[in-house]
Symmetry: C2
């Protein structure tokens, strides 16, 4: 046993250490770890806040059955004509720019008011404070159904970030239908308690019959390029052809993305968990919580794809009596049940809980955004990871205007939401890296993306997308998911390979043809002088040879 080495003053005993133990509130946790939520830089924070609000609006519209009509605005807090110039001036004038202590970036970045307004069903007054002012509160976490939001964190986190950087409250307008009053609520979050604090709450006049509008003042940085709000909104329009979107950027310029279709995507149905995904601890809790009075009833009620026969078979394998009271199950019985489930053949979960974009619309989306020679798309059949149904779609665009000497560009989507950050952490990236693109006629260095004029679009639709962090920017490396993405890439890749090979053959044939074509007149001349045929006959021979060549080329 080693003796204490330091002076007693420097080291701590168990009593002292106990005095320092404390509870950490969820909002303190996320304030300190704000990069987990996507707020680690002013540029990313601006994007994340808008993304969370747009996700919520689209989900609400679809759930309410309204074709979404959205308005998004980024309004500089200072006068518009000065705003952006000031921002860039500030950047260079910032003291300590080359100082190791710089990068606090709190006071000198630009302040923006972001506004997102929808025509959804609105939110009832009583729910507004907690939805926008409490982390871990929402309707989507406990339901298995494809939606953009899932954690109940995003929009309150955006408000929290605004409050943290500008001290300003969040403003929400909402109206739930004609005749119902419109509410305007300003609120802040109590960050120690993770509870909303209402500042003002009033009925107001709003020109909308129904919908929600949120305004957040925050410190951000508006930039163009790959990680920009502009790019995010453009890609959102690609993946949501039923969306009508109006966007006013900080310069006051307005872009409209009209809806390409009036049809809402098929409504995703909520499902129950599949037995294969359940774990001992979860099953134990479900058995405690169920209203069912027998095990058969429990299995049928609480899971999808379990009918009377499957339930009977599971219980027989487990050696458990049908009429056993679920809440009386002991740990070893639960283990038997789990083992029996694993050895019973149960149909895959239903897939009407998923709403993929579809091969046609993936292709149309790519065509609208990328100018290329060749397009293809693949929608895979639904598959399952940890009991959760999911479905992969891939689109490829090749050639044309795309740069030939750069790495391929990868566009990632999850439940129709574009993912712009953390590309290299994503299962999509890994699947692309580990696919053999040389087999499809592309160049690819070891450990790198393929090189060439290629855009790769990948969409994952699922009742529960396993993101690598709360900011929902990258899909976790579940083997089942990577496998499905690779299969979709292979299917699309083979079509790309055929195209590239066909192009190569055509180019080759064209070269040979032009070579022969060049000599046909000379052959005619030679024949004429050998066979002493007339000019007409020579012309005929040349025409016939040319025609034969044409036809052989077409074959």
């Amino acid at each position: 046993m080693a003796a204490p080495r330091r002076k007693p003053a420097a080291s701590a005993d168990a009593q002292e250490m106990a005095g320092r133990q404390r509870e950490i509130s969820i909002s303190e946790f996320f304030t300190k770890n704000r990069h987990l939520l996507g707020f680690d830089s002013p540029a990313r924070a601006l994007l994340t806040a808008i993304k969370e609000a747009v996700d919520n609006s689209l989900d609400a519209c679809e759930e309410g059955g309204f074709a979404p009509v959205l308005y998004v605005e980024i309004r500089p807090d200072r006068p518009v004509n000065l705003g952006l110039e000031l921002a860039s001036l500030d950047e260079s004038a910032k003291p300590g720019k080359n100082d190791p202590a710089s990068g606090n970036g709190t006071s000198r970045d630009e302040r923006y008011r972001i506004i997102v307004e929808d025509n959804g069903p609105g939110i009832v007054r009583a729910q507004i404070p907690r939805i926008f002012g409490k982390l871990l509160y929402g309707s989507k976490f406990h339901s298995l159904k494809q939606s953009r939001g899932q954690q109940g964190i995003g929009i309150s986190a955006a408000g929290m970030y605004g409050q943290l950087t500008t001290g300003e409250p969040v403003t929400i307008y909402s109206c739930t239908g004609k005749g119902a009053p419109a509410h305007r609520i300003k609120l802040q979050m109590d960050m120690k308690k993770n509870e909303p604090r209402i500042l003002t709450d009033e009925e107001t006049i709003w020109e909308k019959d129904h919908g929600t509008r949120i305004e957040i003042m925050l410190t951000g940085s508006y930039k163009r390029g790959q990680h920009s709000v502009d790019n995010y909104l453009e890609q959102t329009a690609i993946a949501n052809p039923h969306l009508h979107l109006t966007y006013k950027d900080p310069r006051g310029e307005i872009v409209v993305y009209p809806n390409a279709t009036k049809d809402l995507p098929p409504a995703a149905i909520e499902i129950k968990p599949h037995p294969y995904g359940v774990e001992l601890g979860i099953l134990g809790r479900m058995l405690q919580d169920t209203k069912a009075h027998s095990l058969t009833e429990f299995l049928k009620d609480e899971f999808c794809r379990v009918g009377p026969k499957t339930a009977e078979q599971i219980l027989e394998t487990a050696g458990l009596p049908d009429r056993k009271n679920p809440s009386k199950m002991q740990m070893e019985d639960i283990q038997k049940l789990i083992d029996a489930i694993a050895t019973t053949k149960i149909a895959s979960p239903p897939t009407d809980c998923l709403s993929p974009i579809g091969e046609d619309l993936v292709m149309a989306g790519l065509k609208s955004g990328v100018t290329a020679d060749f397009y293809t798309s693949v929608t895979r059949p639904a598959s399952v990871y940890r009991g959760n149904p999911f479905q992969i779609e891939v689109g490829l665009a090749y050639g044309g205007q795309l740069p030939g000497d750069e790495l391929a560009k990868v566009l990632r989507f999850a439940n129709r939401v574009p993912l712009l950050y953390q590309a290299s952490a994503c299962a999509v990236h890994k699947a692309v890296l580990t696919s053999n693109w040389r087999g499809y006629g592309m160049q690819q260095s070891k450990g790198a993306l393929p090189t060439g004029p290629l855009v790769i679009l990948v969409h994952m639709a699922s009742v529960w997308v396993p993101f690598t962090s709360e900011s929902k920017e990258a899909v976790a490396h579940y083997p089942e998911i990577i496998k499905e993405i690779r299969l979709a890439l292979q299917e699309a890749g083979r079509q790309l390979g055929s195209h590239i090979r066909r192009r190569a053959r055509e180019k080759d044939a064209l070269k040979k043809q032009s070579y022969i074509q060049k000599y046909i007149p000379h052959i005619g001349d030679a024949l004429q002088s050998i066979l002493a045929i007339s000019d007409v006959e020579r012309a005929e021979v040349v025409a016939t040879l040319t025609d034969t060549l044409e036809r052989s080329r077409k074959l």
Copy 2:
């Protein structure tokens, strides 16, 4: 305004939607998002659980001033001689292995009891339940000091995962010193309330004077290779030369990593936040919570590097009176304060809160783990991101037994903890990728790691490492951090480049020398026949020429 499209039954109005809104408990959240905590596969879960326990033990020993002596065991739940064979059999015999619904992996993976025991200061009885049975509870979250743990999540999450997969409670032994009773406590977590539930609590006989032992039964998968527990423990020993570690693997084989030094690393000192890192919202809360009665006092008490002069300067710039009561500050005054801080020159935070490994020990660690021709290491001066001090260290090993045609291997450490997963999401990876290795004589494809016989070790020490997720496997892409890593890589890379160039020159010189050497006798012969010198003189000429060549080579 678009009219509802679907049958009313399918779409929801605001009232229905409100009925579905619910609070999400932090333990429910992490159960469903368990990949965020590092429990997404049985192999990773086993590693993560051990890692969390070892991190805590090392922190506790160092804080208590004890040179750490740790015991780690992975004990198969079934008889040892059958354990691993069974595991591999199970793997192939698992039904539905090629079924889309497989991968639930709950019942058929192996069950292990993991045991981690230390000689630290122990934990007082009253704190044990919450430290091991409540997420977001701990002593390190609120303090700015380099430590392995920081979130107050890890070890309770490991216990929660064990409970989830096996239903078994966590067992903790702890004793706080000679004469104090040893406690043995078994507990579970109430996952809806995020509170510990004590099953048994007794005083017991333990042969240790002080220390803590934790036992968790969990479903896991024991594997060798890059992501293995074995590899993690080996790398831990490299980065912690003061650690004496005994490890018993599931086969019962025992490996001992003796401590290379008896000296504990210099104790990291807790610091106060630096003014450059503070944000409006945080500053507002600090002003509310402070015990200081004037602004000068507040600035001096709550921040590091602020003395009377700096405080005066800040307040003068802000135009705020010294004697203003901190708790009476309005939002616009707080903004003025923030602005004044940003324009005031304030010294960088102290760096005695950091405990880097040191250039010598980084080099020694690399030499102990990697057989190569050339080693170098660099410890950068401390730097700052978002007000948090951090320090980067880099070690390179090149040549020797390392494979020449593979991508370089990158070993990542944060606060002396090896990071094995999510390499591509890490700031370290990005810094390595974006460094120009061709400049140092290595091969490198676009967008890829360098290729060649190279191992790159990177260590980040910080009072707060910004991980990309709660599982603490990858460092977030803060520009200041990436910049420092790149600078360290450049410094080490230049030394590598000199080595590679010197090697190339030497090889070249050797080639020329052997070439000349071959002709020296012929020159001697030629001289003899031209000048008609004696055999002795010829031998002398040859010897002189050889000697000259030797000397020129040494130069």
